[in-house]
């Protein structure tokens, strides 16, 4: 297998759908949180900042999945892992404490059909399934 094929593994097959959903969330979450922060930041600075952090992670995951290869595979692992921890922590906190406004991750992503909760699980599963194809011994 050539290095080009190895790099392309993450965005092929099921990865094609994964990238599509990640890209969608990257664009939607970035636009929405940037707008909320610039126009109504004083209303709920913490949730909007959290949304922006989530948005940046979606961007990182999208880019990493598209680029592929050992280094970007590591970035993808970190991004999907952080995302799963983030949605679980923020989801739990948002249930316990009354958040002043919705974020991507509040209620475990209930405002987005729970896609934010399921997406990192699929992302991690996809990285795990394609691990032997990669040339990254640290995650092999």
């Amino acid at each position: 297998m050539t290095s080009e094929q190895v790099a392309g593994t993450l965005r092929s097959g099921p990865g094609r759908v994964l990238v599509a959903v990640y890209a969608l969330f990257a664009v939607a979450a970035t636009g929405r949180s940037a707008y909320q922060l610039s126009v109504q930041a004083s209303e709920a600075p913490v949730p909007y900042t959290l949304s922006l952090v989530a948005a940046l992670i979606y961007i990182a995951a999208t880019v990493a999945l598209v680029r592929g290869g050992p280094t970007w595979r590591r970035v993808a692992w970190s991004a999907c892992g952080t995302e799963l921890v983030g949605v679980l922590v923020v989801g739990t906190v948002s249930v316990l404490v009354d958040f002043p406004d919705q974020t991507v991750w509040s209620g475990y992503g209930s405002g987005y059909g729970f896609v934010p909760l399921v997406l990192p699980m699929f992302g991690l599963a996809w990285l795990w399934r394609t691990r032997t194809v990669g040339v990254d011994p640290s995650h092999g």
């Binding site: 097959g13 969608l24 929405r32």
Partner: protein
């Protein structure tokens, strides 16, 4: 906003998703029915963007203009981007991208409605 136009867009998006899902189940590239539905959906989204922007300019109500316009224009970009990303993967997974695009269009309709009604 035009409720009728929203309904048309949602029906077209559901049709596109169903046609694409049938192609996915058959493990094939997007068929002419799926591609056609996606194209018609994009035309409807384009009409909606024009009508929506005109209505935004005319309304006396408080509507958040920037996100409303962004969703209107962004929606028009969904079908072509989904098509290109689908076409470069010659498997059922490419076709599944069109399902994602159609569902995204429905999500945009819901958001547009929320913003318009305030």
């Amino acid at each position: 906003m035009s409720g009728a136009l929203t309904a048309v867009v949602v029906v077209l998006a559901v049709l596109t998703a169903v046609f694409a899902l049938v192609d996915v189940a058959r493990d094939r590239d997007p068929g002419w029915l799926t591609a056609g539905a996606l194209a018609v959906l994009d035309v409807a989204l384009l009409v909606q963007a024009v009508v929506g922007l005109v209505k935004l300019g005319q309304t006396d109500r408080q509507v958040s203009g920037f996100p409303f316009s962004a969703y209107l224009i962004g929606a028009v970009l969904i079908p072509p981007i989904a098509f290109v990303w689908a076409a470069t993967e010659r498997s059922r997974w490419g076709t599944a991208v069109i399902v994602v695009g159609a569902l995204a269009a429905i999500a945009v309709e819901s958001r547009l409605d929320q913003i318009w009604t305030g």
